[in-house]
Amino acid sequence: MATHEIAATHHGPAAAHAAHVPAEHSAHAALAHHFDNLEQQREAGSLGMWIFLAQEVMFFGRLFLAYVIYRTRFPEAFAAASNHLNWKLGAFNTAVLICSSLTMALAVWAAQVGRTRRTQVFFMALTGLLGATFLGVKAVEYYDKYRDHLIPVRGWFHWEQPLSANVSEQNIQMFYWIYFAMTGLHALHMIIGIAILLPIMYRAWKGAYSPEYHAPVELFGLYWHFVDIVWIFLFPLLYLLGAHYAGGHAAAGH
């Protein structure tokens, strides 16, 4: 046994594994030498991605915490500021992201069951287009905020609506600060997502993904769905929080 291990270290880890599980390695070119089998390799990839996503939960979590703290302190200002957002565009974008999550899930499925590269690329392209649609709508919303002087920068921010009691312009500005920080960070994740999707699409077109090997598609899917989840929380918190207050969306001037 001891001589066998010494021999194995001389030949490197691949040789050591080949001695233990030769069948797996000759069967799957996709299996990296430091894993025992494909199942373990897949599990390790998903686990790594989920640990990254747990970090992302904290990354966005602190912004949600800031939102909760300021909103509980200035509820009227947050309701008034929220009512000025265009909830129809927000709802449309929510639907767009849910559609893109479906197409991404189908892209992963297409790779898992070994559908043609054309099918894989089709679902990925659809996902990317829906992501781009989301960003386009977001750009329109940002432009509206710019035009209405609602970018929370000193000297630019100006709230033109009448202020009710308990509401100060600074507190409304705080809502827009949080709005831009949260939706901006989310939009950045969307842009990075599309940038990562493009090379995956290229490789899918080259026929790189099969039922044995599709880890990049699967792991990118996890990222994309996570970004969708962030928006699932952002939409009601930012766009709908003041909808039932006096005035509501009808007075918001859309």
């Binding site: 494909l38 199942e39 897949r42 599990e43 998903s46 686990l47 989920w50 640990i51 996503l53 747990a54 939960v57 904290m58 979590g61 602190r62 949600f64 915490l65 909760v68 703290i69 509980t72 909830w87 709802a91 929510t94 639907a95 849910i98 559609c99 999550s101 479906l102 991404m104 899930a105 189908l106 499925w109 898992q112 069951v113 039922p211 899917g221 996890l222 769905h225 996570f226 969708d228 989840i229 699932i232 929380f233 939409f235 009601p236 918190l237 709908l240 929080l241 909808a243 039932h244 207050y245 509501g248 969306h249």
Partner: protein, 109 residues
């Protein structure tokens, strides 16, 4: 043991549920339930997130180790929220206590 492949039908059902819940959250937000508005909105959002995590992200079919990481991630967020908010929301009590205890002594000087 091979990878679990989720049937397409499951994806379409989850997609339908997510769309219905989105419509529901918009509808519910326009009715005044008082403090319950936030509870309803967050219940719907959490339900949607759980659906995405379990089915689109395959956690329902994954190993317990991955489930543990997912739960730990959100549990850590709960710690962040609960501890920070318990600090922020209890500061007023402390300020009141301090005011009550200092004002008489200042008057006595």
């Amino acid at each position: 043991m091979s990878e679990h492949i989720v049937p397409r039908k499951v994806y379409f059902v989850v997609f339908g549920a997510l769309m219905v819940l989105t419509a529901l959250t918009v509808f519910a937000a326009n009715i005044d339930f008082g403090v319950l508005n936030d509870v309803i909105a967050m219940t719907i959002a959490v339900t949607k997130a759980v659906l995405v995590i379990l089915f689109f992200m395959h956690v329902r079919y994954g190993s317990r180790l991955i489930m543990l990481v997912v739960v730990a991630g959100f549990f850590w967020l709960a710690i962040l929220m609960v501890l920070t908010l318990s600090d922020y929301n209890s500061r007023k009590w402390v300020e009141q206590r301090v005011r009550q205890s200092t004002i008489p002594s200042e008057a006595g000087r």
